[in-house]
C-alpha cells in the first residue's frame, strides 16, 4: 500500500475516500489549558490534531506532573482505543489553542463496516501509526 499523503488517518485514501471518512469527522477547538483526554478515559474516538500543540503527561506517585511528549499538528490520538477498548494511560492538555478533528467511533465503525476497501486502508493507516509507537517505546 503506497501513501498518497501525510495525514495519519487518510494516508492511503484518495480524495473520494477521504470525503466518505469525513462524514464521521467533527471539528473541535480546545482553549489553552483545556483537558483533551484524562488518564483512565475509555472513550474510543480518534482525535487528530489539526493546529496547535498538545501536552501529554502523567502524574507520578508524588502527584507531580511528568511531561511525556508534545504532539504537533498531524499527530493522532486514540488509535489504540479505537481498535481495542482499553483505558488511556496519560493525560492530554491543550498548550495554547488547539483545533482538532474528532472521528466518532460509532460513526466511523459504521462507515467501515459498509466499505471494506476503505476499512483496509484506514486499518493500514492505524497499523502504520501503531508501528511507529511500538518502535518508539523503550523496551
Amino acid at each position: 500500500m503506497k501513501a498518497k499523503n501525510n495525514h495519519p488517518l487518510y494516508c492511503y485514501l484518495d480524495e473520494a475516500e477521504i470525503r466518505i471518512v469525513e462524514q464521521a469527522r467533527h471539528s473541535q477547538v480546545f482553549l489553552p489549558g483545556d483537558t483533551i483526554i484524562s488518564a483512565g478515559d475509555r472513550k474510543r474516538d480518534i482525535l487528530c490534531i489539526d493546529e496547535g500543540v498538545v501536552l501529554i503527561f502523567i502524574d507520578n506517585d508524588a502527584d507531580e506532573t511528568i511531561e511525556i511528549a508534545r504532539l504537533q499538528a498531524g499527530s493522532l490520538l486514540g488509535g489504540m482505543n479505537f481498535v481495542m477498548p482499553t483505558h488511556r494511560t496519560a493525560h492530554a492538555k491543550a498548550l495554547g489553542e488547539v483545533k482538532a478533528s474528532i472521528y466518532s467511533y460509532h460513526e466511523l465503525s459504521a462507515i467501515l463496516a459498509q466499505n471494506h476497501s476503505l476499512a483496509g486502508k484506514v486499518f493500514a493507516a492505524l497499523n502504520l501509526q501503531m508501528t511507529h509507537k511500538l518502535l518508539d517505546i523503550k523496551q
Binding site: 500500500m1 488518564a39 474510543r44 502523567i58 507520578n60 506517585d61 489504540m80 479505537f82 481498535v83 481495542m84 482499553t86 483505558h87 494511560t89 496519560a90 467511533y105 465503525s109 467501515l112 463496516a113 471494506h116 476497501s117 476499512a119 483496509g120 486499518f123 493500514a124 492505524l126 497499523n127 502504520l128 501503531m130 508501528t131 509507537k133 511500538l134 518502535l135 517505546i137 523496551q139
Partner: protein, 140 residues
C-alpha cells in the same frame, strides 16, 4: 473496533473465511525451529505465526521483552516499518512456525480479505503496545 468475527485460530488469519484461510496458508511457508534457533527480521520479510512451541522476543540489547505462544504472531510491524525491526526471536524449545511473506499480504487484491488481515494486525499491534504501556501505567 471490530467489524469482523473471529473464524480461525491463528491471530493473523482469524477473520478469514475457510476459502481465504486455505489460500493464505498455501502461500505461507512452514518451518521447524530447533531450541535456541534465531529468527531475525534482518533475514525474514514475513509475519511469523507460531504453530507449536514458543518463541521469545529479545531486544537489541539482549533483554527478554516478550514471549509468543501458539496462535500468536510477530514481526507484523515489519510490514510498516521503514527498516528492519531492531529485535529478534529465539525458539524457546523445538517449535513450528508459519511464515506469511509481506509480499503476499501486500499482494492481496480482494478488499474484504485485505481489511480482515489489516484488522487482525491492528489487534496484535495494539495488544503489544498495551502490554508495554499499561504495565508501566497500572503498576505506577
Amino acid at each position: 473496533m471490530n467489524i469482523f468475527v473471529r473464524r480461525q485460530e491463528n491471530d493473523l488469519f482469524k477473520y478469514l473465511d475457510d476459502s481465504a484461510f486455505s489460500r493464505l496458508m498455501e502461500s505461507s511457508e512452514q518451518k521447524n525451529l530447533k531450541a535456541g534457533e534465531i529468527v531475525s527480521p534482518q533475514d525474514i520479510a514475513a509475519i511469523v505465526i507460531v504453530l507449536t512451541g514458543e518463541l521469545t522476543r529479545y531486544s537489541s540489547s539482549g533483554s527478554r521483552i516478550g514471549r509468543i505462544f501458539p496462535g500468536e504472531i510477530d514481526l507484523e510491524a515489519g510490514l510498516f516499518a521503514q527498516g528492519a525491526l531492531n529485535y529478534q526471536l529465539k525458539a524457546s524449545g523445538p517449535s513450528e512456525i508459519l511464515l506469511c511473506p509481506y509480499a503476499v499480504i501486500k499482494g492481496i487484491t480482494e478488499p474484504e480479505i485485505q481489511a480482515q488481515i489489516q484488522a487482525a494486525i491492528n489487534d496484535s499491534l495494539c495488544l503489544k503496545i498495551a502490554r508495554l504501556t499499561h504495565r508501566n501505567h497500572d503498576e505506577s
